[in-house]
Subunit: 346 residues, 2 copies
């Protein structure tokens, strides 16, 4: 059961209905969205990105100046670290995601590495801190949303994105500029960027030291949530009941389709079970995607009349295999327990 407080979060934030796994590039408005505080209103004419801290040359850049720089466009699968949280027992109180907190968009922006090079990171800097314009209270502490990356992490892949699927960012995705860190859970990809600072000590703010840590119990300091653990999801086949979301499938050949992804390496295998994770068979993988983007898979199922529970799981090239039942943690992060889709074939 979900409290009224959690419902307030579920009513604001939104997942990607799983039939949208059929689109390789998730249409805007179907991509998942988690907003910690409020969506800020930003005037793009007066907005500037400030780059400072332990750098040789502070920079202050307008959106037009950022758009003049060499840009990269790449598809990136983003997933909320809390995806799967509402499926955990005992119950974890926070944004109650089932399985929908994911999306794969084409992001366009300037590599963080290029701007750091332009600014010249000082020798004593150890991390890059990203600060958003969104403000709120969390854990009793008023804050702007902030996350850091090590110098190595910041230099290898992250973009400062100003476009999604070829269009300017909509307000809810971080207009006018957001960080985009391929392979990492979404909390890292700070939206509505205001500042980037090179810092001489590891960042110990709320979202890094308190939030987003895998803890086995309340006093456990835990380990940071970082890259996305492998997961496969399928488009639920057949047609749904409005209220229960029970699925009804016609008997006969039924192609199951879905996507799989991992922030640790390429997807090497997807397996499907049609008997509630008792037995597994290999799915066919689609073409190798761009690194950090999800991979399509299909599975030919001969649907026999009766009740079935469909499941899928993924394995990546780094040796991570999606568990049938993932472990519990205090924050309810990275719950990659396999999807279970009960269907009635008739």
């Amino acid at each position: 059961m979900i409290s009224q407080e959690e419902l307030q979060l579920a009513a604001r934030n939104h997942g990607m209905p799983l039939e949208a796994l059929r689109w390789d590039v998730t249409p805007v408005g179907l991509h998942y969205l988690l907003t910690h505080y409020d969506i800020p209103a930003v005037d793009p004419a007066s907005w500037r990105l400030e780059i400072g801290g332990r750098v040789e040359r502070s920079l202050s850049l307008s959106l037009a100046e950022l758009r003049e720089r060499p840009a990269v466009t790449r598809p990136v699968t983003m997933e909320c670290a809390g995806n799967g949280r509402a499926r955990l027992e005992p119950h974890v109180v926070s944004q109650p995601w089932l399985l929908e907190a994911v999306g794969n968009a084409e992001w366009t922006g300037v590599p963080v590495a290029a701007l750091l090079e332009e600014a010249g990171v000082a020798e004593d800097a150890v991390e890059i801190l990203f600060t958003g314009l969104d403000r709120g209270v969390e854990g009793g502490e008023e804050q702007a949303y902030q996350r850091s990356l090590t110098l190595a992490e910041a230099a290898d892949g992250p973009l400062l994105a100003y476009a999604i699927n070829g269009e300017p960012l909509p307000p809810q995705h971080g207009f006018p500029l957001r960080l985009l860190v391929p392979g990492w859970y979404g909390m890292t990809s700070v939206k509505w960027l205001a500042r980037i600072d090179a810092i001489a000590e590891p960042f110990a703010g709320y979202q890094q030291a308190t939030g987003y840590r895998i803890r086995s119990h309340a006093e456990d300091p835990g380990t940071p949530v970082t890259r996305i653990m492998p997961r496969a999801l399928m488009v639920p086949p057949g047609i749904p009941d409005f209220m229960t979301r029970e699925r009804f499938v016609e008997a006969g050949p039924c192609e199951l389709r879905g996507r799989a992804w991992s922030g640790w390496g390429a997807i090497e295998a997807v397996e499907v079970s049609v008997d509630g994770a008792a037995t597994w068979a290999a799915a066919s993988l689609g073409p190798e995607p761009s690194p950090g983007a999800w991979r399509a898979w299909t599975f030919a199922w001969d649907a026999a009349p009766g009740e079935h529970e469909l499941c899928c799981r993924a394995r990546d090239a780094a040796g991570n295999a999606q568990p049938v039942e993932a472990g519990w943690n205090v924050g309810g992060y990275a719950n990659t327990s396999v999807q279970r889709v009960p269907v009635t074939v008739r």
Copy 2:
């Protein structure tokens, strides 16, 4: 408390975070969305709109043929008939909306009246039936989503919309074509249109005869849900706590802002209470909008330190006044009880 079944709906459907009331035209992706079944995949090349039933000339139109016809663009406020449902006591089980199921988009399309004239409605026709491509099970009955309008209702205002905010409809809003009925709750605006039929008997399908009726008890046949009852909502001021959504406001002058709308007539007045609906004062209304679109309002509040509960309510030109506490009904429809925003001023 909300069940896992209701959470499945809340995770798929999504509201408009109320800070988005600041935009006169709701950006795509922030507009509310309720999908009864699954979002269908439609190939626009093979898709056609069939117009038939009791007409003189059946029509079969491609998207290109529809786009060639004279078009209308207008801002329309759409609200789900279930908005406010999760605030009702006793609890009503269905999509658990708090207050976010609303949006105001600019829709472009062909007037329904023009196409009905082209087809020539037969003399014995009494209603126009709209059938979507979305299929599912509801109340134990497999169905395509269908709703009807009387001839008079169909001829006066409804559009067949193929664009939102100047862009082709995204899949979730009914691509390639949807019905758009200004002033009516959203269930009327059938998405993913497949057919339009003139019919000689009033439509008695599930979504008209069973769903979307105001019933006082389970055996009450009830009355149909039709036009949108007046409502005012405000942008919650200040900054939120992530989990509780409690608001914190700086002491001093604070401009409260919001929107108000009604499907029955122009908004004539908005009132604000800063003491939990004990006393009310008039808000200033923005310019008269296009009929069917929401109206902006503002209220100058001098925020004194302490706890306050902010409320707002609307009245329309048809004589409907938003109640402080709306009545209960079986389906949880049209709950326009006033918004209550508790804030701490410091």
